[in-house]
Amino acid sequence: MAQQFRLSRGGRIDRSRPIAFAFNGRTVQGFQGDTVASALLANGIHLAGRSFKYHRPRGILSHGPDEPSALLSVDRGPGRIDPNNRASVVEAYEGLKTRSQNHWPSLAFDVGAVNDLLSPVFVAGFYYKTFMWPRTFWDRVYEPVIRAAAGLGKAPEEPDPDRYANRHAHCDVLVVGAGPAGLAAALAAAKTGKRVILADEGAEPGGSLLHDLTSEIDGRPAAEWLRATLAELDGRENVILLPRTTAFGYCNHNHVALTERVTDHLPTGASQAPRERLWQVRAGEVVLAGGSHERPLVFADNDRPGILLAESVRVFVNRYGVLPGRRIVFATSGASAYTAALDAKAAGAEVTLVDLRLEPDCGSGPARLRAAGIPVLTGHTVVGSKGRKRVTGLLVAPIGSDGRCGGRRLLPCDCVGMSGGWTPAVHLFSQSRGKLVYDAERDAFVPGSSAQAERSAGAAKGTYDLAACLNEGDAAGAEAAGSLERRAFTATSTPTGFQPVRIMPTDANPAKVRAFVDFQNDVTAKDIKLAVREGFQSIEHVKRYTTTGMATDQGKTSNMNALGIVAGQLDKTLPGVGTTTFRPPYTPVTFGTLVGPARHALFDPIRTTPIHDWAESHGALFENVALWRRAWYFPKPGEDLHAAVARECKAVREGVGIFDASTLGKIEIVGPDAAEFMNRVYINPWAKLEPGRCRYGLMLKEDGYILDDGVVARVSPECFHVTTTTGGAARVLAHMEDYLQTEWPDLQVFLTSTTEQWAVIALQGPKARAVIEPLVDGIDLSPEAFPHMAMRSGTICGVPTRLFRVSFTGELGFEINVPSDNALAVWETVMEAGRPYGITPYGTETMHVLRAEKGYIIVGQETDGTVTPDDVGLASMIAKAKKDFVGKRSLARPDVVAAGRKQLVGLVTDDPKLVLDEGAQVVADPDQPIPMRMLGHVTSSYWSANCNRSIALALVANGRELVGRTLHVTTPDGFAAARVAEPVFFDPKGERINA
C-alpha cells in the first residue's frame, strides 16, 4: 500500500498534486512539498544507506541539513548525477531519480558489512597504524585500495551541463535564517525602509513555525502569523526574500557568501534559469538567526534505522503529515521532546517517553503527557536497541540513587525520537572571527564578543522560548537598522531546558559498547576515548585522528557530544578543551556555485588581435602569451613546425615576411617632463634623442636586474611612443605609474596605454621597402630620408600611421602602426602588394629564431630576474652621465660587479644537426665527479635554416672570456660538446639592417 504512513490530513504538502520518484529503482509516491526523506518515511522506508566505515544499515536521522546518514546520489539526467545529497533537504518532484550509496551489491545485502564484524580492528587511527610500512606500498597499494573502498558516493564523470550565476549585492541589513527570530529581525529592519536581504536555506521560510501547530503569536496561530509576516515582507520593495539559500561563508568586511538553489526542486528543463546562484552580499549589518541543532543521545546501537531526532519526528508528523512509526518511544534528557511526544500522540501514534532526568527535574512535562495518556519513565537511561534494518525495540533501565542501572526493560517500538539537548548554530559567527563563549547553563558555546558588524538572535544564540526568540530578533533587526523602536511579542511559552549528557549511563562493559557519536564518520564514544588515551588532547587533533566532525555534515549533530567526551576523559571543563573552528562551507556547496559563469570562453579573457581571424583562416597555429593568443607559425599542407619555420625564416632573409606584432605593449608618455621621466626609468639617455628617431630602451628593477625592453620613438619633444614586451605591458605601466605617483609627483608627465589603439604589422626582409612604397603617402622611404631606427607619421592605404623603421630580425624592416580597427584592411592590402615578392606571413617561432640568429635577447628568456645589462652584453647602453635611474645604485653592488657572473654567449655544437635543449646545463668537464660544477645554462636554442645548423644562446660564468673554448652541455643521453662563440650567428657586421 502506497504511503501507508501518511496521515489522513495535516501537513504543508499539497495533496492535490501527487508525485512519484525513484529510489533504488523503486517507485515512491509522495506529494508536492515532500522532501525525499518525508516521502520515504510516508512509505515506511527507513533504510536509506550504509554507513561509511562499518557499512551498518542507516536510516533517516533528521529532517534538515544536519542529516548525517541518509546521503543519496541524485540523478537529474545526463551529467546531472550528484552524490551525497541529504534526503532530508532534496525536494521530491515527479520523475526524480535517487539512489542510496556505499553498498554492494545492494542496500539490503551489503558485502561491506563484514567490516562491522571486524570493528574491533577498525579502531580510531586504524589507517595510520596499519598502513605505515613498507613505504613503497603507499602509492601503489595502500592509497588506491583505501580510496576505492572508502569515500562517500561517486564523483560525477560527465561535464556539468548546468549553468551557474554569480551576483554581487549590497544591503543595509542581511538576516540569515527565516525562523521566528530572523523574521522578527527582518520585519523590524524592513520597517525603517533600509535595504534588507532575508535568506533561508529551507524550501519555505518559517523555520520552526512550519511545524508548530500549537503555539500562538500575538493571539494568532503561529502558521497564520507566519503567512501574514511573509506577505508583509514580500510586499516591501526594500526586502529581498531568498528561500533555498544557504549562507556558507562569512568573510571580512561583512562580505557574506550565499548559495541559492534555483532550479534543483524543479523537473529538469522546466526552467530557463541558472541551476544555482552565488550571492556575494556586502551587508552594512548582519543578523545571524540560523537556529540550532538537536543532539542525538549516545547509547549502544543508537544508529539503527527508525531512530530519529525527537524534533525531526515532530517535523515529519506536523509539516509533512507523515508518521515515522506507529509505536514511538521518545528518549530524552530535556523538555523539547515532550512537545514532540504530544504531537505524535495527537497524530495517532502509540507513544512512550523515557527521560534520563529524575522526576523532580522534569517540571510539568510528565504530568501533561500522562494526562494525554502517554506513559512516562523518568530517571531511566537507554542501554541499547533491538533490530537490524529497522529498530524493533529500545532497551531502557532505571538509574538508582547510587547511579547504577537497575533491571533492563525492552520497550517494543518501530521508531525512536531521541533528544540530548540543543546546540546553537554558531558557525557563521565563528567565521566572522567573533569569540565564542561557553554558557554552562545552556551547555553550549554561544556568540560572545563580535569582530564585525553583526549580532545573533534566537536559537543561534541559545534562546529557545518562542516569545524570547521573537523579541530578540526584533531587537536585533531594529538595532541593525539603527532604529530605536521595539515591539513586544506575546507567544505561547515553550518548554525548554535539558540536562547535558555525553554518554547515556549503561550497565554494559563500555569497552564493548558501540555507541555512535558521529554517525557520518562511524565514530563511537570508545573511539574518542581511545584517541584521548593515546595522547590526543587537543580537540583539533582528536578530530583529525578519529575523523569526528568531518565530511559533509561537519559534526552538526556530533560536535558537542564529542567535545564533552574529550573533556570528561581529560577531566577538563568544556571551554578548557575548546571547540574546533568552523571553516566554510559548513553545509556542502557545489563546485558549480563556486565556479559560477567562469567556464569555457568566460574562464579567462582570451585576447586576440585584429589580425587574428585572418591568421586563423590562413591556417595559423597559436600560442598563449600572457592572455594573448599569438600566431605561432603558418604551416602549409604537409608541413610540420620544423618545416614551416625553416621556410618562414628563409623567406624573411631572402624576400619579405609579414608578422603581427600588435600585442606589443605601447605607452604614450606625454608632458613637459617626458624626457626627464624617461631618463629616470630607463638606463639609456633620452634628452638628446631627436623627434622622429627611435632608441632601444632597457629598464631595470630597483635591484639592478632587467625588467623589460623595447623600442621607443620620440614623437615630439614632449611625447614618446614607448613599446614594451607583450607579457610585460601591464607590469611596465604599473611600474611607471608607481614611480610617477609616489616618488616623482612633481614631474609633469602623463602615461596612457595605447597597446590596443595601435595594431602593429611588422614587414621584414630585403623587399620590405618595395612592398610598401606604393601604399605610403607623406613619408619619404629612401634610406637617406628614413634611416634605421626612425619613425615617421603619414598614411598607408589612406590610414594614418606611425611608421617605424626598426628590425627585430636584422633585416631591413618596418613596423606599421595603424589604428586597430583599420589594421585588417591594411594587412590585406600589404599582403596583396607583397604577392609579387613572395610575401610570407610568419609567426612567433620564426620571430624567435631570426632574433636569435642576431643574438637579440628576449626578456624572460635570456633574462630571469637576476640578469644585469652587462650580463647580456648591453652595458654600453647605460648613460654614464646620468645622475640616477631606477636600478643604478644596485649596479654597484658587490655581487653585481664581482668577477665570474654569467654572461651571454653563443654555443655552437660540434654536431651541427644537434639542437640543444633550452635549460640544459653547461659544464667544463663531463667526466668530473658528481655533483658537477655548473657553469651556466642554455637560454635559447633553435635550428637555423639560414645558418644551416643549430644555434644556441647561453648564460655561462665568465662566458665572454671563454669564447673559442669547448664546453659540454647536458643532453637526454649524456653530454654534447659545444664551442663558445660570440652571440651573433648571422650577418655579424649588421649590414643588412641598413639596406
Binding site: Q272, L602, E756, G798
Partner: protein, 192 residues
Amino acid sequence: MLEVRYRTARALPLGRPETTAPDRSGILIRPADAEARLTLRVRDPGRSAADLLLDRPINTVAGDEGRWIARLGPDEWLIGTAEYEADALAATIAADLAGKAHALVDISHRNVGIDLSGAHAAIALNAGCPLDLGEAGFPEGSATRTLLGKAEIVLIRRPGPSPRYRVECWRSFATYVHGFLQEAAFGVGHGE
C-alpha cells in the same frame, strides 16, 4: 580610392550593432557603433575645455550620448564623441588648454563600447561588478573605472531616470565582456 577604403574599413571587434530585441530578462545588450574616444589628463583644468565641463565631481559623467565626458579621477577624463568630430574636438580642447601641461591621447580604437538597458540591467552588471549599483550608490550620471569579472571596464550610467549603462573596455577584452554580459543576463534568471 584608398581614402574611401579607410573610411569604410573600420572593423569593429563585435561587428556592427544590429537591432536586437531584449532577451527574456528584459535586458538589451548592444555593442556601440564606431565612436571616437579621447583620454584627457591635466592637473589644473579650469572650468571647461571645448565646452566640456571639467569641474564636475569625480565619478560623474556630463554631456549627452552624442558627446560625453566622464571624470574618472582628479586629473583624468574619458571623452566620447562622434567619429567625424574627433579631430575638431581634439584641436579645440588642445587650444583651450594651451599653456597647461596636459595629455590628450586618441584611444578610439583601444576602447569598445557596449550599451546595456532594461529594468534589471544593474543586476546583470552585478554578476561581475562588485560595486553597489543601487540608486543611492550609483545614481544616473555616475561613471567609474571598475571590474567586470576578470576584465577592467569603465562603467557609465547615462543621465535619465530609466537604467541605461555604457560599458567601455579594451578592444581585446570585448569578446569576453560581451559574452560575460550575455551570460549575466541569463543569470538574472527571468522565468525562474
